[in-house]
Amino acid sequence: MNPQLTRGLCYVVASIFFVLGLKMLSSPRTARRGNVVSAIGMLIAILTTLTAIAGVKWGWLIAGAALGSVIGALAARLVKMTSMPQMVGLFNGFGGLASLLVGWSEYHWNWAGSAQGSPFITVAILLTVLIGGVTFTGSLIAYGKLSGAIQGKPILYKGQNLVNAGILLAIVTLAIVFYIADVRRLPAEPGALVYTLLMGAIVLAFALGVLSTIPIGGADMPVVICLLNSYSGLAACAAGFVVNNSVLIVSGSLVGASGLILTSIMCRAMNRSLANVLFSGFGAAVTQASQYQGQAKPVNVEDAYLILEAAQSIVFVPGYGMAVAQAQHAVRELGSLLEENGAEVRYCIHPVAGRMPGHMNVLLAEANVPYELLVEPQDVNPTAEMVEVAVVIGANDVVNPAAREDENSPLWGMPIIDVDRARTCIVLKRSLNPGFAGVDNPLFFKDNTRMLFGDAKASIGALVSEFKS
């Protein structure tokens, strides 16, 4: 069989593996095998490509591949589950950077080889380096914010959107000039100008990535991570057009599409538009619409224990605070004790709780909570009155009844978990400070709410010892 056809068929097989792998990832039972299937697809794609390339400096190639593999393996092994959001963010960035480098390298090869520029390849290269560049620096900023290296609060300044629009305009202008210059350049004299223009476009893409991510606050990171995930796929896709390779296009667009879907799911869970998340600097301005009056009712560990001990139906609602306090293992221990005590225990997880989609699920899975016990708001809300005790652990905005009751609240319309409708609601919190959105939470002042002040892990630990004694 002709080698080109064989390779083409191998790429088709690899694509099938990717599609099946993604499909299997959609059920907890098959997910792990799905990941392996997708990895096999990757192996097939890599091996197939290795048979196609000649003129390789093998020493360089092997060194690069080995270095990347070792770093990747170490990072995957050593990362703590609570650091998963920044890890995923960083990997996104590396994917974008790799695509950028592919685009640049291909351009250099075309340019130095004095090949006549092809208009289509020029456009594809431009898209690759631009999307790759934005993905790279955007992800670095997301990484910095999630790991705490940069302050998580939105960084805002006057005329911010104007500056970003200006950079975008500059990129478009530069891209058009580059395109014209590159298509018209003569094979005999490549010229340094076009090359400089491309470098300029890369630098501007880097700047756009940074400047468009800094105004986005910590709690909006789930959306940003999804979006960057999508970009990294689209960058790979664009690289596929550059090297005329369909497996790159297929898998790149699968990732691009999945990132977009997740982005829209996250936005819907917050009842905000993507534009609002990206441009509003939500959570920075404390524009308080209503002040909530009332007396919060603190509770001590002994009384909280008595409430829990008597309850038959308990729902835990974890939030980012649980991740910060690393309280997931303590929470599970308490949950198991309550189950032994005869109660029905569920864990209700809001789609945007934490700093990335599914963040709380991963932490509770780490603590060995069976996935059947993890439920979504729509499973709990219709029968919220039947819940005897709702225990809120480090969650705030996702349980804020103002989203339902106060039209002036910035959270108005956001789907929340209706813990305020439970018979009793115990809120574990360090203080009465408002959550990320800077919005006071009337939940704390409701008659059926009890505040258990203190570090979540310590409080849960104390409850566990009460149960054991």
Partner: protein, 104 residues
Amino acid sequence: MELDGATLTLLFFVFILAMFLGVELIKKVPSQLHTPLMSGSNAISGITIVGALIASGRAESSGVVTVLATLAVAFAMINVVGGYLVTDRMLEMFRSKNRNGGEQ
């Protein structure tokens, strides 16, 4: 490297259909699997390794290409190896009540 119109059209077809397929595939993923899905699809975006390898195939033409392609290979491999391993590590933790007996 010149692409003719027919090839180009075909590539666009592939792109558009794959986007639709991706949307259909992901739409049904339950929220508890969102993180593994993200890191798993992140690993797939490491497919740019194929582009990096193709670029490495031009290494003999110039030193700049060698360096750029090698860097691309390294970063793509971080994405591929790290992405798959970390996804596996996460999914290993997702246990069912039945298999785990609820208690460990």
